[in-house]
Symmetry: C2
Subunit: 517 residues, 2 copies
């Protein structure tokens, strides 16, 4: 029988959705049965919904096309919301299929009843299906909404009866997002502004391609402007093949200092920069009040920042730039204990060309971006866009399934990795080529830093307890084993180098617990 | 300095909140500093917010008083929402302290900005603090709202500046929820209804005390009515010391059959029974359309169902009932393989008196309630009230900290246990006396049953993949070790008996993976 559920799945497949990261329950059984019958639609089970939503985000960051998630009612969606928040901030296209009780059942207070639309409204576009006849059209509308531009989280709430009743013929449209060029006048105004001197450019989102970064370097060469990259970009090309620009620092006192000299700040794929958090003695806006902030390319308006930067370079008659060869330090494995620096140095030496580095290493990850990524083989970096920790491992899963010919490195802080560690099991099941490097400092270092910044020199026992992961110590190798992922623990740069090389030579996931001194 | 945060914490302590299950971030640092300074307020760190909210639920089910949770902005709350959904359905008092950006920072699109009130509104009472001067009064209002009656999830959204600015003197009021007796006329009408014959009583919520169950038995003895217990009660006294009543069956065809003969159905602490899920050929309401459904005691109206049942027994002149001694089968440990039945039989034989059984064993747990709990030593059972799986381990943590003199058994399905397995670490850190019995059938059995009910005799490979946890096999003993909890794996009733006895003789948590054949 052609059910509403099969209209949904066939239409999504035709629209370019190839995979469904799933954690279904009873109200989604007709969709499970449809997935079972539709050839070409891959399914991957997550043991927790945050794995599914984070994997869909990682998949779409690498392919530009949405994956679907299959989630069970309000609580299932709730478990996936944190990573949908990150996807929203990354402007990633994601399509959520969320089952609800059959329409007639919603009149009653069943145990699993809740207001699902109030939750999905928080992360993006929402549509509640009212009849099985809508199932094809709604499926296509969700893919279109997800693709944008800008990319979006699009949620379909689908009562069980709309899934199990007979459905319409699937649609066979394949939407493509239409990014636009910046208007000529915007490019000309930007050129005029930067020619005045003391200019700055903040790059983000779709500016961070090889071509976009090269164009920014050309602009900087002729205008002497400063160039920064937003602190947590969704996707960025990195390494020895691209011009090196600093990331805008995380703490507001450092970021305002970096931008202090700017008379103007041009936004290319980035927003007017805002501090991650507010502090009593720091501003929220990071650009100087006196600076003219000008938008060259706003991804929310569907403008391609890479094309805009290229047009700007042309407008400025900027010659091509040559990236001088970087002096790659010779790495000699030794028995130096692992610190954030020796860890990053080792990773930088061994990261294979064309790797995808999913950076949720937080304190260690900031060091990586600032000091090591540029001296590493060409690679793509995905960052924690919305601050909702627990993105890294699911993102790495999704990126690995999207790009089976590329090695993924999940560069992972230990505290945040524990939020969605169930992703390890899906990596094992799907034989995803992911090397997980856990930066095991065994504390919430960033919170310890925040306590110190707030003037607490000696935290008492309760504050210590709330930022410390040592009592008891977490054994990541055992956790990995529990989920079927082989692992080892290392504490020197030589051990780490060996573990990385071994991991890169094998298929499937592998976890390295890098114990920091 | 007396900050708004310290006004909040001192006032809550005075109001009877003794513990804060915490997973803070930067926006909650002033509350962390206040917790550090306020003697008498215990803190317990959860590695994931669902652990904190589920633990607060378990704590309050056992004490009747709310615990606080400390959560980081919208994403932190999101991660805790599923267990707050369960708490809402259980009418458990819970107080959430959720940090938000400083008021002035909310004008900007910071990465972690989201609409927190839209999320909290979904699970209960919400108040957004507007000024540090409100911090004491808002803290007390949240405790009062949580206590009800009925018990509720109460969320305070607290901008960081309201925490760090100077705050008012703490308040020192200790609210007590005032449960009321049912009106005499209601009791009399109920008696008249049941005297007509072919009556039924559905017990739930605060009816399920030893006194309430005894009163129901007296009523049944004089009116020959049927008595059922709601399928998933928040807290229920169980064992050989209380009258045995069947739980209302989970599947609607069985539940409607059970109630088919009722001319009337009296609700004592329960709601008009509704099927857990809708099915194409089954009704949503479970009572016969012809039955008169009458509310004796509605907990949402603050009525004490135990007192109402006692008044009803008195109105009916029902004599005391004597519970005949149960024939406890002699248990002979052997090498029988573990099935749901041999597992329950073994657990029933060894569960110590006064234990707390947190039942999230799902398919195995339904067998336990129906066939084994009544023949077990007197104990208290907590159930999965809202269907949002991942309640069990956090609930067990909270119950163990609330009742340090009682053994807690986390009777846990393997699939659902994986949603919030991070609770194991908090059990180890807090030396919680929890015996975790993982019913390892290595699949989502309930979904396999649902596929069969939907007529899928032979699921295809994708449907199988979505209900199967065998590829790779999950090693619960390794997962427990990773979080610092000792564990063992058993596959016969004799091994299980030994493991249970050993676990009950030791302090702290202990995990037993019971591999089902």
């Amino acid at each position: 029988m052609k059910t509403g559920a099969s209209s949904l799945v066939y239409t999504a497949l035709n629209a370019g959705v190839e995979i469904c990261f799933s954690n279904p329950g009873t109200t989604e059984m007709p969709i499970v049965m449809a997935l079972d019958r539709v050839p070409g639609m891959r399914v991957a089970l997550g043991l927790f919904e945050g794995v599914c939503t984070g994997a869909a985000d990682g998949w779409a960051r690498m392919t530009g096309r949405p994956a679907a998630t299959l989630l069970h009612l309000g609580p299932g969606l709730s478990n996936g919301l944190a990573n949908l928040h990150n996807a929203r901030k990354a402007r990633t296209p994601v399509v959520n299929w969320i089952g609800d009780h059959a329409t007639r059942h919603l009149a009653f207070e069943a145990p699993l009843k809740s207001d699902i639309a109030a939750l999905t409204g928080n992360v993006g576009w929402t549509r509640t299906v009212k009849s099985p006849h809508e199932m094809a059209e709604a499926s296509l509308a969700a893919v279109e909404a997800a693709l944008g531009p800008p990319g979006r989280v699009a949620s379909l709430i689908i009562p069980a009866d709309c899934q199990w009743e007979p459905g319409p013929e699937p649609l066979s449209s394949t939407p493509v997002p239409a990014l636009r060029e910046a208007p000529d006048t915007t490019v000309q105004d930007t050129a005029r502004l930067l020619r005045k001197g003391r200019g700055g450019i903040l790059l983000g989102d779709n500016a961070l391609t090889v071509r976009g970064l090269n164009a920014a370097a050309r602009v900087a060469a002729v205008t002497s402007c400063g160039v920064w990259i937003e602190t947590f970009p969704s996707r960025q090309e990195c390494g020895r093949n691209v011009p090196r620009f600093p990331a805008l620092p995380y703490f507001p006192e450092q970021a305002t200092e970096a931008l202090a000299n700017c008379a103007s700040l041009v936004l290319a794929g980035a927003r007017d920069p805002i501090a991650f958090f507010a502090y009593p003695d720091q501003p929220s806006r990071l650009a100087p009040d006196s600076a003219e902030v000008y938008t060259l390319a706003d991804p929310d308006a569907g403008i391609d920042a890479t094309l805009a930067l290229e047009a700007l370079a042309q407008e400025l008659d900027a010659p091509e730039v040559v990236i001088p060869p970087r002096t790659v330090p010779v790495f000699t494995p030794s028995d130096r204990p692992l610190t954030p620096d020796t860890l990053c140095l080792t990773m930088s030496a061994f990261t294979p060309e064309n790797a995808i580095v999913v950076n949720e290493a937080l304190t260690t990850g900031l060091a990586w971006s600032a000091l090591y990524a540029h001296n590493t083989a060409p690679h793509t970096m995905l960052s924690l866009t919305g601050g909702a920790i627990g993105q890294g491992l699911p993102n790495a899963l999704g990126a690995a399934l999207a790009c089976p010919d590329r090695r993924v490195i999940a560069f992972q802080a230990d505290g945040s990795g524990l939020y969605t560690l169930q992703a390890l099991w899906s990596m094992a099941r799907e034989s995803a080529d992911v090397t997980i490097v856990v930066c095991a400092n065994r504390c919430y270092r960033i919170l310890q830093n925040e306590l110190a910044r707030a003037g607490v020199a000696q935290p008492g026992p309760k504050a210590q307890d709330l930022t410390d992961l040592k009592r008891p110590e977490i054994d990541w190798v055992a956790l990995a084993k529990g989920f079927g992922v082989p692992g080892c623990s290392v504490s020197t740069d030589g051990e780490l180098a060996n573990a990385l090389m071994r991991s890169f030579s094998e298929r499937g996931p592998n976890l390295i617990e890098a114990v920091l001194t």
